[in-house]
Assembly symmetry: C2
Homo-oligomer: 321 residues x 2
């Protein structure tokens, strides 16, 4: 293990890839790597890119990475979306080709497996980001799909959250109204060459003008990611947001909230695992059958499971004696 | 409490509304109501309606409810979407007006508050659906937004899941490819009057033809919800799906899986609450601060919290002595 950590700290990409796999699989060994490398993290700037299917966020992610490379910066990309072109090594656009990025030693792409059965981002996403962070990438970009919970979670993980909007369907505004706009630090209208782009920009401006006085107004940028247009301004806006986070104390606050969220969510996963350990499968099934038959309500059943966890430790000690 | 339960069982809508509020707020009292009423549930057919923002699923929900009323059936609607017109009592379409539904004693509409901080559908959604079920509605429709986790969860809760697709953006196909199509029991192409509707139907058919042999092919229906068109066929398709569930044994399987999911997810919430009780806020904050400062990794911190839960019960006894 020490050897792999050493090679990781020397900047060896194969060591990075292997450690990420172990962390992602949530093995005890993976946790040891995380423990060893976590103190090296905390320096990268994490960027979340989110938006509906077809908004062009994968292309935008690739184009932004290319822009950072032009600026001499290194980039880790975690694509949390099974349909992301990153997963398939697809050609992204006219000017940005996945192959170019994949061959660039300053870019590391990792697509993440789907989510756990009980919801949320891929469970290991925070941990994979921490590992990329520890490896020393200047930026780590997390790309995720969809309007919903994922977007809220990505905002918890990423320092700068970019919401990509797609002109053409005025309907997008509905999703924005739903409060998702509140999590965006930067709004991007991609496909700026689309005839509806300016209308969408106006709609977004009108929407932002309704925000309470004193609240932050995220900048609205137009991009055409397939041609790499607008990437310079986007990278500048991200840099400006970073400065804003630092000068307002938001950076510290964000890190503290992210740490709290991570710790509680892992603790919950540990306890769920303990439930499974404390109650043998046939007992769990018997309980579930009674609920399915409406003889027992789910809450009472859950209380039985939770109580078993609390009693499992003394039981285990007894067995050892 | 007994009086309110009695009025509920007598079919009094105000008793239903009050009990739902208590259940939704997750008070101990709410749990008692759930315990008392859960044995009366299990008879309704639950329908999940999901789709992207602007796909017209709210209008479809209203139009389907109107169709069921024409058939002499009662309908409970749980709208899990802060942007849903149900939340605002908005006019839904040319032929379906929210006001008509709201005044109909055979329809009960409830919009649900946002999700908990740690993800998933509104935590009480299953419980609210159980209460509506116990009240005796023939159908309970759950409407939710977005491509992502919500859709997967709604498929766990609802017996029939309807995925609403929106012609015009060929991009929608991306979301479908992402596996979301797998959770749909019925595919609806809404806005059938849109010029792109037939193209979308063909694309969906092509996509379904790629499914492994022997796997279920969800029917594809065209609707124009604003004019109530296609609702008769949709209600028939739902009825056919119900028969299919019953004859293949899927109904029992679904109920068992739903019960397991509910029990485990409540148990997890109980344990999270125990974490908060076992570790005073200042200790939790100290732990989180060490993680934010990268002195401690999140997993080790979480293990400390989980261990405190297991030790909290004996400690409490000691204190009492």
């Amino acid at each position: 293990m020490d050897d792999l950590v050493q090679r990781f700290l020397n900047g060896e990409r194969r060591a990075l890839a292997r450690i990420i796999s172990r962390v992602e699989n949530e093995t005890p060994e993976g946790r040891e790597y995380l423990r060893a490398l976590f103190p090296h993290s905390g320096k990268t700037h994490t960027i979340g890119i989110t938006g509906g299917a077809g908004s062009g966020k994968s292309t935008l992610t690739g184009a932004l990475a290319a822009e950072y490379r032009r600026r001499g910066k290194t980039v880790g990309i975690a694509a949390v979306d099974p349909s992301s072109p990153f997963t398939h090594g697809a050609i992204l656009g006219d000017r940005i080709r996945m192959q170019d990025l994949a061959l660039d030693p300053g870019v590391f792409v990792r697509s993440m497996a789907g989510r756990g059965a009980l919801g949320g981002l891929a469970p290991a996403i925070d941990e994979v980001v921490s590992i990329m962070d520890a490896f020393g990438f200047d930026y780590v970009v997390i790309e995720t799909v969809g309007a919903g919970q994922d977007e809220v979670e990505i905002a918890g993980t990423a320092l700068t959250t970019i919401l990509v909007n797609n002109p053409g369907t005025g309907d997008d505004i509905q999703a924005l109204k739903a409060g998702i706009i509140e999590i965006a630090d930067i709004l991007v209208v991609n496909k700026a060459d689309h005839p509806g782009a300016d209308v969408l920009v106006s709609q977004l401006q009108a929407l932002l003008s309704l925000a309470p006085k004193g609240s932050r107004r995220p900048p609205i940028l137009k991009t055409t990611a397939t041609r790499g247009e607008g990437m310079d301004a986007l990278a500048d806006a991200i840099a400006a947001h970073r400065v804003e986070l630092e000068t307002t104390g938001q950076l510290e606050k964000h890190r503290a909230e992210d740490a709290r969220h991570q710790v509680l969510s892992i603790a919950r996963a540990i306890l769920l695992e303990k439930i499974r350990q404390a109650t043998p499968e046939h007992e769990l099934q018997a309980l579930v059958d009674r609920v399915a038959a409406r003889q027992l309500d789910p809450h009472s059943a859950a209380e039985e499971l939770a109580a078993a966890v609390e009693q499992s430790e003394p039981r285990a000690i007894k067995r050892r004696v």
